[in-house]
Symmetry: C2
Amino acid sequence: MAFEWQRANPPRRTYRDAAGRSLADYPRPSVAVDTAVLTVDEGVLCVVLVWPAHGDDPSAGGQHRLPGTFLHEGERLADAVLRSLRDKAGVTGLDPRQLHVFDDPDRDDRGRVLSVAHVVTVPARELAIDATRAVLAPVGDAPALAYRHDEIVDLAVAAVRDEYAASPDPRHLLDAPFTIRDLQDLHESVAGEPIPRDAFRRAMEARLVDTGTSRRGVVGKPARLFTHGRPS
Amino acid sequence: MAFEWQRANPPRRTYRDAAGRSLADYPRPSVAVDTAVLTVDEGVLCVVLVWPAHGDDPSAGGQHRLPGTFLHEGERLADAVLRSLRDKAGVTGLDPRQLHVFDDPDRDDRGRVLSVAHVVTVPARELAIDATRAVLAPVGDAPALAYRHDEIVDLAVAAVRDEYAASPDPRHLLDAPFTIRDLQDLHESVAGEPIPRDAFRRAMEARLVDTGTSRRGVVGKPARLFTHGRPS
DNA sequence: CAAATAGTGTCTTTTAGACACTATTCG
DNA sequence: CGAATAGTGTCTAAAAGACACTATTTG
């Protein structure tokens, strides 16, 4: 069962390094992916945490952790991320972004495991969390996590905040069409702080596509509706 | 010989996943590190390329590549990077930064290999390249590389340029003490384009430590000598 | 002194922010 | 009309760049 990759894709020749060992002779670490799933729920940037309540994963010490899985044979890292999320959050159509490889030898007592941290973002509307297995926690107020997953959350939040500081809704958390106010509310939720109204409008308006229509039916002057512009 | 990690660090229990497989049952990829070693040589940002001339590494197709190695048992990624560079460039004391994991299944025909790309920087003075095994190529004028290593060089250059745009000589390519002119020359070499003199001085001077001494012996008004400030 | 390089002062342009004012809807 | 929200115009402050001027050295 083990080492199927080697048998499935045999080297065409046996190459030997300076020590005379072939590629196959090197012991290999297990490779896992762990993913910070971020969303904006009711104006707060949140992360999906799973609760190891099934008796598995005892080395987590009863703490929450991020969803993750071991990389399977022939599988891409991004596909492993999507596979691990399909089960736990019923999410599809994401674009996982790599953050960092955690290679601490003592990080996991089940043996040497390299963990490739990822971040994905999902509109809260599309999240289907099984409450018996996962919870949604505000990123600023999350419990302590197993396997140093707190660091992954920090990296994920910083990465997403950088992206949102640079362009309008780069991860399409908002459904088009939307008003500039919708967009500003989203950006403030991601940033975790208020953004000046005028500067935000000036910076973003030129980078959006005006649909020519407006949103009616609420109090106040109708707001123009926009769609995402081309990523620049 | 193979799978020593598993024997050396046996799991304390056998944990089983949903499919009933233990951690040890999953086939594991080989993990390699590949490193873009950047330096500024005579005013030009350059990268160290190795030439696979020893009959090994035939899948590189006779092209240059970046120095790299397979991760050894129990070894940290950063240590593998340093080990691979000790041989080929006689370099020590570096601080490798991770860039990205390349996981293309067809990237290497020797089997499934995950490559963790890194970047390091080293003052040209400290580089001791064995000319029979390696060359120094300007980053803008490098030959085509094997294993899509061109992409690693691009990532490395972008990462280092971002760092240099944000603070004075963050990677300590310059020996202290140095003049602001020395610093500007370095930053222009990294950026690959000229930088306005006044703006550069204003931005950097406040973040350096004035030694109170000046450089004498050259034509012109003596320039004050600075050392790196605290990273901020 | 002439050439060369270091460093300063000041003006302009650009940008971010503050803030007030106008515009258009609902109830 | 009044409340509420959208959108515009303008002033100010801060920063970036342009550029000229002064300062101090070598030869």
